[in-house]
Amino acid sequence: MQLDLRVTAVGVVSPIGQGKAEFTRALLAGESAFGELKRPGRQRESRFLGAELGPLTAPTLSHHGLRGASLSAQAAAAVLDEVWREARLDEVAPERVGLVIGGSNVQQRELVLLQERHRERPDYLRPTYAMSFLDTDLCGFCTAHFGIRGPAFTVGGASASGQLAIAQAAAAVRAKQVDVCIALGALMDLSYWECYGFRAIGAMGSDRFAEQPDLACRPFDQRRDGFLFGESCAAIVLEAAAPRPRAGLEPYASLRGGGVVSDANRNANPSVEGERRAIAEALATSGWRAEQVDYLNPHGSGSPIGDATELEAIKTSGLRAAYLNTTKSLLGHGLSAAGLVEVAATLLQMRVGRLHPSRNLEEPIDEGLNWVRAASVEHRVRRALTLSFGFSGINTALCWESLS
C-alpha cells in the first residue's frame, strides 16, 4: 500500500504577487508584469523581455540575516518562511525535516556581476565566493535560517527541476528518511549571457512583439515565438497523512503518483514519446485512467516546437477532456522554479475551485482542447495532472487528487 502523501503548505513569490493570497488573487485576475528586464546584469546591448519580482516582503527576513545572500537565496527564504508557518514546522523534530531544492546553476547573474567587479583585481575576491558560487549555498542558508537538520540537497533537471524536487521529496518521505520534506523550486537568476544563449538557440522570444511586452508571452497561441523569462520561486511541504495531524493543518491535495523519464537525448528538442511515457507512468502509479483527469497544468513555455509537441502528447494520452490553462502566460518561465510554481498554482486553484485565465491565447494551436481562455472558470478539480519538461530530454508528470 503506497503512502498517502499530502501537501500541507504552499509558498510562492512571483512578479504578480508574493504570498499565496496575493498570488491567487492575481492569478485569477489574469494579471501579468512583462517589460524589459531591468535588474543589473540582465542586459548588455540588448532589450530582453521578461518579468521581475518586486522587493521581497516576507516578514521575518531581517536585513542583517540576509547579508551575502543571493537573490535566489532570499527568494528561497521568503517562500520557506511562508510554508514553515503554514505547516507549523516548529512542531516537528528538526532531524525529521528535509529540504530538496530544484535547480542547478541558479545564481548566474550574481556570479557575473561579482566576476566583473573583480576582473582587474581577483586577489580581492571575497573568500565566501568559495561557498556561495555553489547552488548548495541555498541549502546552507535555508537550513541555518530555519534549523533544518534532515537531508538537504539540490537536484538539477533544467526546466523540470521544480517537479523533480517534488519527486525526490516524495521519495524521501516514502523511504522514511524524514517525516516532512520541503520541495522548493529555486529562483533561476539569469544573466545576460543565458538570455543571449536562449535567444541564440531560438528558445526565448520575442522578435514579433519586441515593442509590446504585454503581448509577447503567449504559450499555445499561433503567434508564439518563444518563452519570456519570469523570476519566481515556490515551495510545498509534503508529508504522510497522519492519524493525528498537527492541529491547524489543512492539506491541499494528495500526491498520487508521478513519472520521471529521459529521452536519451542531449539536445533541447522535445519528444512526444518521452512526454507520453512520463504521463503514462504518472497515471499508472496513481491508478488513474486518463479520462479521469479533469485539470491539466501543462509545461507550455511558448516555444514553437515545444508547445505543439506537448499538445500531441496530451491528445494521444487520452487527456482531451481535461480543462487546461497556461500559468506561464501570466508569470513567464521560471525555468528551475517553473514546475514548483505551477504545482503551487494548481493546488491553489484546487482550493478555491476556480481556474485562472490564459493570457494572449487568442488562436490556440489546437481549438479542440478544453482551454480556459480570457476569463477564469469555476471548476472543482478532482484530479489534476502537472507537466514539466527540460532540456536534455527530461520529462516529468505528477498527479494530484482533491481531498474533498
Partner: protein, 83 residues
C-alpha cells in the same frame, strides 16, 4: 596620510558589516575577532575587505601574526609605509 587610527576604524567598520551583531560594540585595540564571534571565514572576509579599501595585497602567511585588531592595524600601517 592614513594613520593607524584610520586603519583601526576601517577594520571596525568592515567587522560590523560582516558580523552584524557587533553593530553597537565599542571596539578597543585588544579586541580579538575570534572572541567577538567572527568565524575563520568572517575573519578572512574582513581582512580582504580592509586590503581592498587600502589597495594593499599582503601574502596570507604574513597575516597569521597579529593577535588582536590593534596588531592587525599596525601590520597594515607598516605595509602602507613600506610601500
Amino acid at each position: 596620510m592614513t594613520t593607524k587610527e584610520d586603519i583601526l576604524q576601517l577594520i571596525c567598520r568592515h567587522t560590523q558589516e560582516v558580523v552584524p551583531h557587533l553593530a553597537n560594540h565599542q571596539f578597543c585595540e585588544s579586541d580579538q575577532l575570534a572572541l567577538l564571534g567572527a568565524t575563520s571565514i568572517d575573519r578572512a572576509e574582513i581582512v580582504i575587505m580592509v586590503q581592498e579599501s587600502l589597495r594593499l595585497s599582503i601574502p596570507r602567511v604574513e597575516l597569521f601574526g597579529p593577535r588582536n585588531i590593534g596588531e592587525l592595524a599596525s601590520l597594515f600601517f607598516a605595509k602602507i609605509h613600506a610601500a
